[in-house]
Structure formats: C-alpha cells, structure tokens
C-alpha cells in the first residue's frame, strides 16, 4: 500500500506537468465534442487523434486519449437529457430517464448535475480501484505462463460473443473474420508468409490501427452521409445544477452498484461502456423498490448507468495495463499507441516503467476531477455543437483518418487499405454485423495463436493442459459457463424484448 501511495504521488507530480495537464483538458474537450455529436463516437475521436500522438511522448499521448475516453463517456448524456438525442449508444439508458426528468418533471438542470457528478464519481472511484488493485493483481499475473495467458485471451474472445446482445452469431462471425485477418502476413514462429499471395501489401500483415481507422471512422462517415439529420433545438435555458449531498446520499446504492458493474464489465475484454450502462440500468431496475418509476424519470435510473459507463473506463484501462489486453475498443486504440512507441503493456511494464504506469493512473484520476468542472461549466456550449453540419464533420474526419493511416508508415497503400475497410465497415453496419468484435479478434487472435502454440510446444501438444492447470482450468471453465449463461439468459430477453443494444 505504501509503495502504491509513493508511486502515485510520483505519478501525480509527473501528470501535473503543463503538457500533460494540457493534453488531459484538450482530450476532455475533444471527447465531449465527440460525445455530444450523434454519429461521432468517442472511439472515432480517439482514432482521429492517433496521428497527433505519433510525435508525442507516450505519457501525454495516453493522457490525451484518456481525456477523450472519459469525456466521451459522459458528454452524450447532455444532449440525451436536453433533446432526447443520446450522443453515443452508452448514453441511451440515461436518455430514457434524463429526458423525462427534464421535460416532464422540470428537473433538467439537476439531471445534468447528477449525470456529471455520477460520471466523475464512477471514473474517479474506478481509477482508485485500478490504482490499488493493479499491483497485487500484477504479482499474481507475473506467475502466469503461456497456458494461463491463453486462457485469459480465450475468455476475452468468448466474452466478446457472450456479451453481444443483438445477434450472437453475427458477433461471432465478425470476431472470427478479425482473427483470420490477423493471420495474414509473416508467421511469427516459422517466418513464412501466410495468405500474402506474393503481394507486398499483405506481406507485412494487416495493421489493426488501419483497420480501426477504416471500420470505425470512415464507415461511420459513409453512414452519416447516407442519412440526413435535422436537429433544430434551442439551448438558451441550459444550465447545470449540482446535486446536494442529500441527493447523492439518496443515490448511494445506485452509484455503488453502477461502480461495481462498470468496473467489472470494463475489465472484461470486449465489453465496453455501452454494455456496462445497459447492464447497470437493467440491474438497477431489478433491484429497485420502485421499478415502475423506470422509464418515467427515475434519478436512480440515470445515476446507475452513468456511473457504470465511466467506471468501465477504469476497468478497461486496468485490463490493458496489467494484462496487455484491451478491455474496450477505446483501450484497443490506446494499445495501438503503446505499440507505436514500442511499449508492450502488461505485467512487466509495472516493473520496467512504474513511473509511466502511475502517471497514467494519476492522470486518469485528475481527468475525472477536471471533467466535473468542465461538465458543469460547458454543458450549454457542448449542447450547441449539435448545430454543426454533419457534412463538414464528415469531410474533415475522412481527411484526418487519411493522415492517420498515412503517417503509420508514410505509405499511401495504408490509406487505400483504411478506405477499403471503411467501405467494409459501412457494409457491416448495414448487414447488422458489429465491427467491435472484428477489431477484438484482430488484436486477440495473434495473442491466442502465439500462447496456444507456445503452450503446445511446452506441453507436447497436450490440449488438456488448459483444463488441468488450476488457474487456466478455472478461467476456461468460467469462459464456457459465461457463454452458456449468456445463451440461456437470452431466452427471457427475447421474450420480454425490453432492452436492446449492440456490442458497439
């Protein structure tokens, strides 16, 4: 505990460097802008800033992304409460309650205050959990061999599918396609080419960052240009009223449950803030003494998913930093930023560069505090951003994406690949194929293959080793149980048809 506190103080001093603070504020601003604009998600924004990070040090680069991550999780609720337009899928449950609180109960200003407070509380508390739970977890993780790591990656892959709420088969196909794309290029064990067809384009493999740029950003722009959106709303009376301590005390149960659910779901690879928000909302309704209030302006129904959405960021960051496995699509882009700097997140990073890790932890905590101030002060300004024509946004996004893809290797071929995946992303959206599992498959696939093959070499091709070793056995059985539970749980969901969302 003492070591953690000392490291955290060192990290805090480092994160208070002017450039780092500037990056946090800048990141929060970009994240909030992206968050309030429907169609422009927080993940899009993180992808868009990638080219800016190429020539930055890793610390400000990650803090910039952390700012976007946290700001983006919250800001979509502003337009949800004010205009019934959630900025991101993760803000949909908050919109259900927040908009009714605003329009029917006249509690819009308080709802905005509760949302920003719960979001900051969720992020800050999950940041503390991440800071203090990571070191003991790392000690445990350092004992892992390739067998245990394979089991963890396997759990990540199965959870991507198990948590897909719209169509489990489509999510699975998307993930497997991602895993296949990851096999293109040089085989890491034999050094031979796989599926390159003699083309230089494929010989170096398909970089997941380029695929992400294409699928998430370009695909989204094509989707935007096909739909014409008319938003005519007034923002004159917008203000944020901070909740009094008694308001927060009354919501303590909802906030605590949102925090727990968000942090755990964030830690699970593949599950992001949207799933955390929906699960938290559903759970809150189940445990509520007044479930009939849900859907007609429940403050608990607003507080729980808002806390969970931002708490998931801490969980996802913990998964990324301790295991090197991204807990969400946003964390996957951060993994890309780490890799571009030649840094591999994981247990060894805590040993080789503890200052970097604790600067990120401290920066994460600071981000949530600054977000609270920005959320209170600028809610009106962010709400006005809805007036920016989407045509302008879309065109600039394509330009930024092309720079991001080009700058990876200063090669125009990468821009072509990004654009091709952009069209693929658009088609996937139209076919109801979620794009997030493909990215996770692309990232986790090579890890799974590597750990699997090393395990087979070490254990004479004995497949049972994954089940006979205690830790990996528990994780593998847990994975199967998780999938089975999800499949069984789907039946009542299908019958009730109450809540729906996609894995994105």
């Amino acid at each position: 505990m003492g070591d953690v506190a000392t490291n955290l103080i060192s990290g805090l001093i480092a994160s208070l460097q002017p450039l780092n603070i500037l990056m946090i504020i800048f990141g929060l601003f970009i994240g909030m802008v992206a968050g309030v604009l429907p169609g422009i998600t927080m993940v899009n924004a993180i992808v868009l800033v990638l080219p800016f990070t190429y020539f930055m040090d890793i610390t400000p680069a990650i803090l910039l992304m952390v700012g976007i991550y946290c700001g983006g999780c919250y800001a979509g609720t502003i337009t949800g409460i004010l205009f019934n337009i959630p900025g991101d899928p993760m803000n949909v449950p908050q919109t259900w309650e927040g908009y009714v609180l605003n329009k029917k109960k006249g509690l819009g200003s308080l709802a905005l205050g509760v949302a920003v407070t719960c979001s900051a509380l969720g992020g800050f508390a999950s940041g503390l959990i991440m800071t203090f739970a990571s070191p003991p977890f790392i000690k445990f993780a350092l004992k892992f061999s390739s067998v245990e790591f394979f089991a963890i990656v396997f759990f990540g892959l199965t959870s991507v599918v198990a948590l897909a709420q719209k169509n489990i088969l489509n999510a699975f196909i998307s993930m497997i396609v991602g895993m296949f794309l990851a096999t293109v290029g040089i085989d890491p064990h034999f050094g031979t080419f796989r599926f390159s067809f003699g083309l230089k384009l494929f010989e170096s493999g398909i970089d997941f960052i380029i695929v992400m740029i294409g699928l998430f950003a370009i695909g989204e722009v094509l989707d935007l240009i096909e739909t014409e959106e008319v938003v005519k709303k007034t923002t004159e009376k917008v203000k944020t009223n901070m909740p009094r301590p008694r308001h927060l005390w009354a919501l303590k149960g909802s906030i605590s449950r949102g925090l727990g659910i968000g942090t755990i779901i964030g830690f699970i690879p593949g599950a992001g803030a949207a799933i955390a928000a929906f699960v938290s909302y559903g759970f809150e309704r189940q445990v509520s003494k007044n479930p009939e209030e849900f859907g007609s302006g429940s403050m608990a129904g607003l507080a729980a998913p808002e806390t969970a959405a931002n708490a998931s960021t801490g969980g996802a960051m913990m998964s990324l930093l301790t295991l090197g496995i991204p807990g969400s699509a946003a964390a996957a882009v951060m993994l890309g930023a780490f890799k571009l700097k030649g840094i591999n997140p994981g247990p060894l990073l805590f040993v080789s560069d503890p200052l970097l890790v604790y600067t990120i932890f401290a920066g994460f905590l600071l981000t949530n505090l600054i977000m609270l101030l920005m959320g209170i002060s600028f809610a009106k300004l962010f709400a006005q951003l809805l007036r920016v024509p989407q045509a302008i946004l879309g065109s600039f996004i394509v330009v930024f994406c092309s720079i991001g893809a080009f700058a990876l290797r200063n090669d125009i071929i990468d821009v072509w690949i990004a654009m091709i995946f952009g069209v693929v992303g658009y088609i996937m959206r139209r076919l109801n194929l979620p794009v997030a599992p493909l990215i996770l498959g692309l990232i986790l696939g090579p890890l799974a293959e590597d750990y699997f093959r090393v395990s087979m070499i070490l254990h004479d091709n004995n497949f049972l080793v994954f089940f006979t070793r205690p830790i990996s056995g528990v994780i593998m059985m847990g994975s199967f149980a998780f999938v089975l539970y999800s499949l069984l749980k789907r039946r009542p969901i299908k019958q009730k048809n109450k809540i729906h969302t996609s894995i994105e």
Binding site: I168, T183, R194, I225, S395, M419, K494
Partner: protein, 187 residues
C-alpha cells in the same frame, strides 16, 4: 410487393455468408501451400491455426444461412434482442439517395488518388469542398472559405508541427505544393 421485398432481403441476408464460405474454402485450399521450414515432427505448423479459423468460419456461415432460411420460411421474425425500447429518440432522420452514397464512396477513393497525384493540399481542398457540398451544405462562399482555411491549417499543422511528410504530388503538382509550402513558411 412485400413478398418480393422480403425475398430480396432474404437473398441479401444469405448471399454474404455464401460468399464468405466460398472465400474460406479457397483460402483453406491455399493454406496448403504455406511452407514450414525447419518444422519438427509433431510441431504445429503455420497453417494449422488459420485453417482452424477458416473451418469455424465456414461452419458459422452455413449456420447463418440455415437460420436465415428458416426465418424466411416462417415469415420475418424479429432479430434477437430487438423490440420496443423504453425511451424514444426524436432525431429526424431520413435515408437519402443511394446515389449519394455511391458518389461519397467514389469521392473517398478519389481523395486517396488525388493526394497521391495532386499532393495533399490540393487533394484535401478538392475533397473537402466536394464532400461537404455532397453532404448537403450548399453555401458556396462559406464552404470555399472553410475548406480553404481548413486545408491550409491541416497542411501547416501536420507538415510543419507534427513532421508528417504528406504527399506533395506528382508532375508539376509537386511544384505547386512546394510553392504553397513556401508561402506557408513550411520550407
């Protein structure tokens, strides 16, 4: 009419898994040509993992076809997990012409070609103007102002500050780009 539409929808639904299956079969056969120099007896080769993935993908695609065909036969059943939502979203969204989408895709690819041939600045300027215009923003003076300033700012930002050697273009377009860079103080 609705029958025809649902049949068309079913054809689209099952056509992509069929294409994926065929592609997987081709790739599975191609995996046989992957070399494994220095492979020890009993060691898993480089083709084993992708082949396992491809088999899984073929199986899933076939399952998808069967499920969609069954759904089609029993009438259009709702997608799993969809249904009435607790809240409603009030954004006024209308689907625009498919022609606009096709033009947008062509513009996106044209943009890549343009930055390669015309150079980044000119390609960017041309793309921003046409794409924004296509997106429904018709105020030509503001549009020209925003796209010109935007292109200048982005070029200056990434070339001068972030040191990304954005393409200068080919033929005489390279000279034009260099002249613009000199005017911006980049060179």
């Amino acid at each position: 009419m609705s029958n025809l539409r649902s049949n068309q929808s079913l054809i689209i639904k099952i056509s992509w898994p069929i294409l994926v299956s065929l592609l997987c079969i081709f790739l599975y056969i191609n995996a046989g040509s992957i070399q494994a120099p220095g492979r020890l007896p009993g060691q898993i080769g480089p083709a084993a993992w992708p082949r396992a993935i491809l088999i899984t993908l073929i199986f899933c695609s076939l399952l998808k076809i069967i499920l969609d065909l069954r759904r089609g036969r029993h009438g259009s059943m709702p997608e799993e997990g969809t249904g009435e939502s607790v809240g409603e979203v009030e954004v006024i969204e209308t689907l625009r012409s498919r022609k606009i989408l096709v033009i947008a895709i062509l513009l996106v690819f044209g943009f890549v070609l343009a930055i390669d041939v015309l150079g980044f600045f000119l390609g960017c300027l041309l793309f921003l103007w046409t794409f924004t215009y296509l997106g429904g923003w018709m105020k030509k003076i503001y549009l020209s102002l925003i796209t010109t300033l935007g292109s200048l700012f982005i070029t200056f930002l990434f070339v001068k500050w972030v040191y990304i050697p954005l393409p200068k273009g080919r033929f005489f377009f390279e000279d034009i780009t260099i002249a613009i860079y000199k005017a911006l103080g980049i060179f």
